[in-house]
């Protein structure tokens, strides 16, 4: 009886701690967002992905993501295609991707592989391939063998790609991306910073629907 009471008390205490941690993290994120709203930050895309869309587009969408993040996958499937169709393809907006691979050991490997694909001019195709095939975190879906098989499916040069993956050629670039993202206050994925040519900036946290992005982008065009 006493043992059971102890277990229940322990569980309640653990829940309390978890609640406190969550409240603190949400509060921190809220404070960062408030601060960023007052002082727009400089976001560098120099070491991130290549650009998707027109370089002269009025609006730039910078996505921070992890290839193992389930919510990034949901955003990829539910929202991204509409943004590409209505804003990127029409030249009104362009898109960048910055890695923040924090979820598991395969996250950084997948990010590294995306830059290996970039060497052969297939970054965005490989990026899409990764989100199309995403499974559980560190479940083996992004093992070196699978990463190589994705490249093979896209018709990339297998030897060049394999060497790049095995040597983790872009490990440092991925780490720099991640460090930069964290230093800019990004604490979750997907996270979006939308800027326009006048320097206006809006941030969207989470896999939000297309209607939210449409409203924000339209207000900045």
């Amino acid at each position: 009886m006493k043992q059971r009471q102890l277990i229940v008390t322990g569980v309640i205490i653990a829940f309390g701690i978890a609640l406190l941690v969550s409240a603190t993290s949400y509060w921190n994120e809220f404070l960062v967002m408030q601060e960023n709203r007052i002082k727009p930050m400089e976001y560098s895309t120099a070491i991130g992905s290549p650009i998707l869309g027109s370089e002269t587009a009025t609006v730039t969408i910078l996505e921070y993501g992890d290839y193992q993040c389930e919510m990034c996958k949901h955003w990829f499937h539910n929202t991204r295609s509409q943004i590409i169709e209505n804003y990127v393809d029409s030249g009104k907006a362009n898109l960048y991707f910055m890695d923040i691979p924090f979820l598991g050991r395969d996250s950084a490997k997948a990010a590294n592989a995306s830059y290996c694909a970039e060497e052969q001019g297939m970054y965005w195709e490989y990026h899409s391939m990764l989100y199309e095939h995403q499974e559980g975190i560190d479940s083996g879906w992004a093992s070196p063998e699978r990463l190589k098989s994705f490249a093979f499916s896209l018709g990339l040069d297998s030897d060049q790609f394999s060497e790049c993956v095995d040597l983790q050629k872009y490990k440092q670039r991925v780490k720099l991306n991640s460090d930069k993202s964290v230093s800019q206050g990004v604490q979750s994925t997907p996270y979006f910073v939308i800027t326009n040519s006048d320097g206006e900036q809006q941030k969207i946290s989470g896999a939000q629907p297309y209607s939210v992005f449409r409203q924000v982008i339209e207000s900045m065009l």
């Binding site: 059971r4 229940v8 969550s22 924090f102 979820l103 604490q187 997907p190 939000q208």
Partner: protein, 159 residues
């Protein structure tokens, strides 16, 4: 079972408690599971591929509200010592922790604080979100069943 429901929820206070627990579960769970967003606008969004996940959150929140308020009734009005409230809290906790999105700020904080151990824990909670929520619902249903049975027995004795 219907009699037990009538008995507890005919008292308006327990209905209020049940609704309060339901809301207190649904809103934070929707927030951490990314169904509810406050920035840049307040929006509740359930993507077609996430309907099951939201339905499970609704079920966990509703059952938690019903079961916990019924057990509070037993403790307060029938002055019985109940272990079932422990079961209902455990069920609610499992449901709440499952799928507390590892991509979100909670997952980020846990992973950056606890490193590999935090990463394994959040990965487990994310990968097994649906089975864990189903287990939570099963626990709550069992507790609901035993609570309604106990209520009808205890009330007969008291009468």
């Amino acid at each position: 079972m219907t009699n037990s429901f009538k008995l507890v929820f005919s008292n308006f206070r327990y209905l209020v408690v049940a609704v309060a627990i339901f809301k207190a579960m649904l809103i934070p769970l929707s927030l951490v599971s990314e169904f509810l967003f406050f920035e840049p606008f307040i929006i509740w969004y359930i993507a077609p591929d996430r309907i099951v996940s939201f339905a499970l959150i609704l079920a966990v929140s509703s059952l938690s509200g019903i079961v916990i308020s019924m057990n509070i009734y037993r403790i307060r009005l029938l002055t019985v010592k109940t272990r079932k409230i422990g079961g209902s809290i455990l069920g609610s906790l499992i449901g709440a922790s499952a799928g507390a999105c590892s991509c979100g700020p909670i997952g980020f904080t846990v992973i950056t604080t606890f490193g590999t151990a935090g990463s394994i824990a959040t990965a487990f909670l994310t990968d097994y979100e649906i089975p864990l929520r189903l287990a939570s619902i099963a626990i709550l249903v069992i507790v609901l069943f035993t609570t309604t049975r106990s209520l009808s027995i205890e009330c007969k004795i008291k009468n």
